[in-house]
């Protein structure tokens, strides 16, 4: 190369032909997209759309097949009551899964916190508000243990929470001596524990405080995830932790805060669980972890992290609730519900994979 070689942005010899080429280097939308591609792009930019469509479609189909016995204010709000606990736990699960983690211990944390709230009131005679605060403290501590093991010790979230699930559940049985606190006793001595069981009636529609708590929680978290820096960082960490770190996100602190918040939300679920059951039972909520993961997956949130909307999780939980109630009303074997939910999970992940190809 000579001295005159291509100084100051002049094209080099082999690049001279570029002068004749299309000047729009970074052109977007270069061709008319087909309807299918447009659909794919729409679903890519609105991840909660698929579960919402499925929810509306299944409501319509069952309303048509079963009629007003299903499509009534009472039945609709009954579904909400039945999914309230899963919805709250699902919110915690969503946060963890968005960071590309998974939390198998959510159900165990919920049960332990409800037992702590009950036993602290009845065994030690603490005032109910103090016992509830202790429950939240225990939830946060369990979340902190998970978060510390994931963020600082760098263990895989699946393994960490598989371990803490067993530990917390065993601690729950050991501490409670497998003893149930009866609903009548709670009602007489500490009605605050059952507070989430209270309801507002509008005609035949029944909204328990637990349902309202679930909806408010999901809306608040939706706002936080989409409109605050913390929420954007949750997505960034789940997407590519290394890139997030280099862009100035403190990944370890982020993960720790997510697991602690998940623990606190599980404690809220523990409190709401007492309202739902009336009693405090150490054997309740055994499948809450699997049910919450189901809601998250059907809700279109990617298990690989960084993608999806918490509203999708709510729709996912409601889809499961709609199928359970509708099939019960039709009078089929309950196994059909599980079978169909299994199909839905696989279908949801298939659609998720297809939508992600938009990036390719």
């Amino acid at each position: 190369m000579t001295e005159a070689s291509a100084r100051g942005g002049q094209p080099q010899e082999f690049e001279k032909v570029l002068a004749g080429s299309d000047t729009a280097v970074a052109q977007f939308e270069s061709h008319d997209r087909t309807a299918v591609e447009r659909l794919q792009h729409f679903l890519h930019s609105s991840p909660a759309a698929v579960p919402l469509i499925v929810l509306i479609a299944s409501l319509a189909v069952f309303a048509f097949v079963i009629g007003s016995r299903f499509f009534s204010p009472f039945s609709m709000t009954l579904i909400l009551q039945q999914v309230a606990i899963v919805g709250i736990i699902g919110a915690a699960q969503t946060l963890v899964i968005l960071t590309a983690g998974i939390d198998l211990s959510v159900g165990a944390i919920m049960v332990l916190t409800s037992v702590v709230m009950g036993q602290f009131t009845f065994r030690y005679g603490l005032p109910a508000p103090v016992a509830i605060l202790c429950g939240f403290g225990v939830g946060a501590a369990c979340g902190f243990l998970n978060g510390w093991l994931v963020a600082q010790v760098k263990l895989p979230p699946f393994i960490v929470t598989l371990g803490t699930w067993q530990i917390i559940l065993a601690a729950n049985f050991l501490y409670s001596a497998n003893e149930t606190i009866r609903a009548q006793d709670i009602e007489a001595q500490a009605p605050l524990l059952q507070w989430f069981g209270n309801n507002i009636r509008i005609g035949n529609a029944v909204f328990t405080y637990g349902v309202i708590a679930m909806v408010v929680l999901v809306l608040v978290l939706w706002h936080v995830l989409n409109h605050t820096a913390w929420g954007r960082h949750v997505y960034a960490v789940g997407d590519d932790p290394e890139a997030a770190e280099l862009s100035g996100v403190n990944v370890n602190r982020m993960l720790l805060s997510v697991y602690v918040l998940a623990g606190l939300i599980c404690a809220l679920a523990g409190w709401a669980l007492i309202g739902r059951l009336g009693s405090v039972s150490p054997t309740s909520g055994q499948f809450a972890n699997i049910e919450s993961i189901t809601a998250v997956v059907i809700g279109g949130i990617s298990l690989f992290g960084g993608r999806g909307s918490i509203l999708g999780m709510l729709f996912g939980a409601l889809i499961v609730g709609v199928f359970s109630l509708a099939l019960r009303l039709i009078g089929t074997d309950p196994q059909w519900t599980y079978l169909l939910i299994g199909v839905l999970i696989i279908a949801a992940v298939t659609v998720d994979q297809w939508i992600r190809k938009v990036a390719g």
């Binding site: 100051g8 942005g9 954007r232 997505y235 100035g248």
Partner: protein, 260 residues
């Protein structure tokens, strides 16, 4: 280059066990220049750049920015000091929008109680600034500032990463292999981008293996060899073959060039 250097390093040493990655390496960057850093694989140029951008802390030696000694313990500290780095992997979050990516880790919050108590992001302000930055660099063929980065081409992503660095870098912009993953046309655009950033008065450290690109845009070329600065050459006085010969040890550099 009469003025004082903006960023200097003297006697940097970095050892990894028995391997010495940096062996008393020196470095000088002058205001407003494009300094290319070249070197064979394993010559220690990555370690040098990481030390300057805060990704590693050297065992010995001194780094001065604006004449004042600095010791970065993390990339964030270097960033706060005004040194922005465009990493080879770009450090973008694919699922987030262009605007969210540009402001990742330094978001703007709404004024008043919405920002203070609800901690709400000021999306309009962020998008406005992102759009302004991209248009300034001639990248506004990117239509929708709210679209996810994963829907962009490689060149567009590079553009977003460069725009982010140029928008926030107040002192120095470091670019690590910015054209390595790009096609001919997109590389050309990125080289123009680099010159645009230079026009804004920001000095650039360019790490590249692509000799034609280096010789095209660089004002000076820092040749790294065996963990230290071998020489700094003027690309107008040497050929690419000379540079490669110095870099690989096939030829010894003239003593005078070191002072350049």
């Amino acid at each position: 280059m009469q003025s004082e250097p903006l960023l200097t390093a003297r006697g940097l040493v970095k050892r990894y066990g028995r391997v010495t990655a940096l062996d008393a390496a020196d470095f000088d960057l002058y205001p407003g220049e494009i300094l290319a850093v070249i070197g064979d694989n394993g010559a220690g140029k990555s370690s040098l750049i990481k030390a300057i951008s805060g990704a590693i802390t050297p065992d010995e030696g001194e780094i001065r920015l604006d004449g004042k000694p600095v010791a970065f313990r993390s990339p964030m500290e270097a960033r706060d000091a005004g040194i922005e780095t465009v990493y080879q992997n770009l450090a973008l979050s694919p699922a987030l929008s262009i605007a969210d990516n540009m402001f990742l880790g330094r978001e703007i919050r709404r004024p008043g109680p919405l920002g203070k108590w609800l901690r709400m992001l000021d999306r309009p302000a962020m998008e406005k600034r992102a759009r302004a930055m991209l248009s300034e660099l001639g990248l506004m063929t990117i239509q929708n500032i709210g679209q996810a980065v994963e829907t962009l081409s490689g060149g567009q992503r590079q553009g977003v990463a460069v725009a982010r660095a140029a928008a926030f870098g107040s002192k120095v912009v470091i670019m690590d292999e910015p054209t390595a993953a790009l096609g001919v046309k997109e590389s050309r655009r990125v080289l123009e981008l680099i010159l645009d950033v230079k026009k804004r008065g920001l000095p650039i450290v360019l790490i590249s293996h692509n000799m034609p690109h280096v010789f095209e845009v660089a004002d000076r070329i820092h040749i790294h060899r065996l963990g230290r600065r071998l020489t700094v050459i003027d690309p107008r006085q040497y050929t690419m073959s000379d540079a490669v010969a110095f870099m690989t040890g096939a030829k010894r550099p003239p003593e005078t060039a070191v002072a350049a």
